[in-house]
């Protein structure tokens, strides 16, 4: 009986201390470190550039993935109390490049607090797509970092690139069995076009909320499953669509984008 009573006291103390730690000690006027890790995978396997072999859910074989690159931008984080913090535009554009680990973890300074969700854009918004060349710096520099992610002949960023090989690709002159998915199109400047900009919103409560505080680096670990690009809203057959660039079908692929991202855990 006494033991039960002590345990009860101990448990309530723990509860109180937890509460205190998670709410009252945050100072929302102070900004602290929060990063979002993009961990690229293929189904239940880690994504191995050039060497990994995978199968899509509809049975297509992928004998290699040779390139995976995508833009993530316009991050915003929502606290458990509902307040939203949007990252300033100038530091909210990142190019994730599989094979270059320095790109996997965009990091931010956000107000201290506990966060329940994150939202970001897969791609580049229309404003940045039409900006003066001099303002396209860093990840958006079309003469530098972004030069491989830009359609020079049809002004606009490529949001997402996946390239590789599959025996399902009908062999055509010189191209072997390679597939290429270059998905972009921001809606057009002078004339409306397809808009493949996708906002991804992820709940963080089910697998651990980030508790951001000065003096530590909190990390939101996301899994990005490239195989989900082939299924979800639309089933994408590699045989039927092995090359998709500025093409109406790009919208069918972009519709699958949000399903690629899931929150794995948070390192507090």
């Amino acid at each position: 009986m006494q033991r039960i009573f002590i345990s009860f006291i101990a448990a309530s103390l723990l509860f109180v201390s937890c509460k205190k730690d998670s709410v009252s000690s945050y100072n929302s006027n102070v900004k602290a470190d929060l990063s979002v890790e993009f961990d690229n995978i293929a189904g239940s396997q880690d994504l191995q550039l050039n060497t990994g072999k995978y199968k899509t859910t509809n049975g297509d074989s992928i004998t290699s993935i040779t390139k995976l690159k995508y833009f993530v931008s316009n991050f915003s984080f929502t606290k458990v109390d509902g307040t939203v913090y949007t990252i300033p535009q100038d530091s909210s554009y990142f190019l994730i490049v599989e094979g270059d680990s320095s790109t996997y973890e965009p990091s931010f300074k956000v107000p201290e607090g506990e966060y329940k969700s994150v939202s970001f854009v897969l791609g580049v918004d229309s404003v940045r797509n039409t900006l003066d060349a001099s303002k396209r710096t860093g990840a958006l520099d079309v003469t530098g970092e972004a030069s491989d992610m830009y359609w020079t002949w049809n002004s606009g960023y490529i949001f997402y690139k996946l390239e590789g090989n599959s025996p399902q690709v009908p062999s055509m002159g010189g191209m072997g069995n390679s597939f290429m998915y270059h998905i972009g199109l921001f809606g057009g400047k002078t004339t409306p076009t397809i808009n493949n900009i996708k906002t991804i919103s992820l709940d963080l409560t089910a697998r651990g909320t980030p508790k951001v505080k000065s003096g530590k680096d909190t990390n939101i670990h996301l899994m990005v499953d490239v195989l989900k690009m082939f299924s979800g809203t639309n089933t994408v057959s590699i045989a039927a669509h092995s090359m998709v660039m500025t093409d109406a079908y790009s919208a069918s692929i972009a519709a699958n984008f949000s399903g690629m991202f899931r929150h794995e855990h948070t390192e507090n």
Binding site: T130, D132, A133, S134, R136, D141, V142, T143, G144, S147, Y150, W151, T152, W153, N154, S155, L185, G188, K189, T190, T191, P192, T193, I194, T246, D247, A248
Partner: protein, 344 residues
């Protein structure tokens, strides 16, 4: 005696040449000049002020084959000044390793008034235009990052970039801005037509005047004065070739844009043959015959070319002669021969 005379002659010639040089050097750089009979330009000068050093750097880059993968093809190869910067005699141009493109090289002329570039209008900012031919497999086949690296390794360019932009650092933005400065300066506004319109003393001949009236009735809706293009995209009814080039559709993916191409300017038209987006007509007689006899009712044919149930534009042979007389008044030799736009 003969000896002193020779010396005197040499001294005199030397003096003249110094004078000539001086004269050229001291010619003031006026920057972008707005022709009084033109609308306001649409280029964003506020984010790229044209300066003498910037323009000259742009001109040097324009004529530099370093911009291509194997250092053999410059912009000037397919854009020749004496032909209003088109590639005369070539339906489509041959770029690096003589690879052929699929469209006719467009003129570089009065681009400060354009809001879209290329036959399909895929590019919406003149600053971003040079990226396309540099990267194109059949044109220069290089990467912009490699071109910038090559420029940084030269002894001349860092100094020229400093003169133009205040530091020896060569960046992509400066590179693009310099090329744009050269291109916006390529203004053609000194044709006989302009002189007549601005009341500068020139007058149309009778035939030119009749041609002008015909032009206003039958051509001006698309080839709108004073730029001689309304900058729109239209299908002018050319038989679709084996290439099945879908034009503007490839940019907008809107099926009502299939087979539409940018309406080209008619300025300096005597010098810009061959004609049409794929250069299929080698002379103006062919073009006028086409409009009067051969327009096809292809998908999205422009309504103006099928008015009253009739395809094309009705033109008598006398009309054609008068129209040709008028079109000749759009030639601007001072632009075609202006040394300031030539390779130095």
């Amino acid at each position: 005696m003969k000896f002193t005379r020779n010396i005197a002659l040499i001294v005199l010639l030397f003096g003249i040449s110094i004078y000539a040089c001086k004269k050229e050097l001291s010619e003031p750089f006026l920057g972008f000049q707005q022709p009084s009979n033109f609308p306001q330009p649409t280029y964003h000068f506020e984010s790229n002020t044209v300066t003498k050093a910037g323009f000259e750097l742009g001109r040097k880059l324009f004529y530099d084959p370093l911009l291509s993968h194997n250092n053999t093809i410059s912009c000037g190869n397919c854009h020749i000044q004496t032909s209003a910067f088109v590639h005369p005699g070539h339906s489509v141009s041959h770029g690096i390793y003589d690879r052929l493109g699929k469209r006719n090289s467009p003129p570089i002329m009065n681009l400060a008034w354009s809001t879209t570039f290329m036959w399909d209008g895929g590019i919406f900012d003149l600053d971003l235009q040079p990226l396309a031919p540099i990267a194109n497999h059949v044109e220069m086949d290089d990467t912009i990052t490699n071109v910038l690296a090559k420029l940084r390794h030269t002894t001349t360019y860092p100094t020229l970039f400093q003169k133009a932009f205040g530091s020896t650092e060569i960046t992509g933005t400066k590179f693009l801005k310099a090329l744009a400065q050269f291109m916006v300066m390529c203004v053609s506004s000194h044709s006989k037509y302009d002189s007549v319109m601005r009341n500068e003393g020139a007058h149309f001949s009778e035939s030119e005047q009749i041609g002008y009236s015909l032009f206003q009735q039958k051509c001006n809706s698309c080839h709108k004065e004073p730029l001689f293009t309304d900058l729109s995209f239209r299908n002018n009814g050319l038989p679709v070739s084996g290439l099945n080039d879908e034009g503007r559709f490839s940019v907008t993916l809107d099926s009502s844009d299939r087979y539409k191409f940018k309406v080209p300017s008619l300025r300096n038209i005597l010098f810009t043959a061959p004609y049409m987006h794929d250069g299929r007509y080698y002379d103006l007689d062919g073009v006028l015959d086409y409009y009067s006899n051969n327009v096809q009712n292809t998908l999205n044919l422009d309504p103006l070319l099928k008015e009253n149930g009739k395809l094309g534009i009705s033109l008598t042979s006398a009309d054609k002669l008068n129209l040709l007389a008028f079109l000749k008044t759009l030639s601007d030799r001072s632009f075609l021969l202006d040394k300031k736009f030539s390779e130095q």
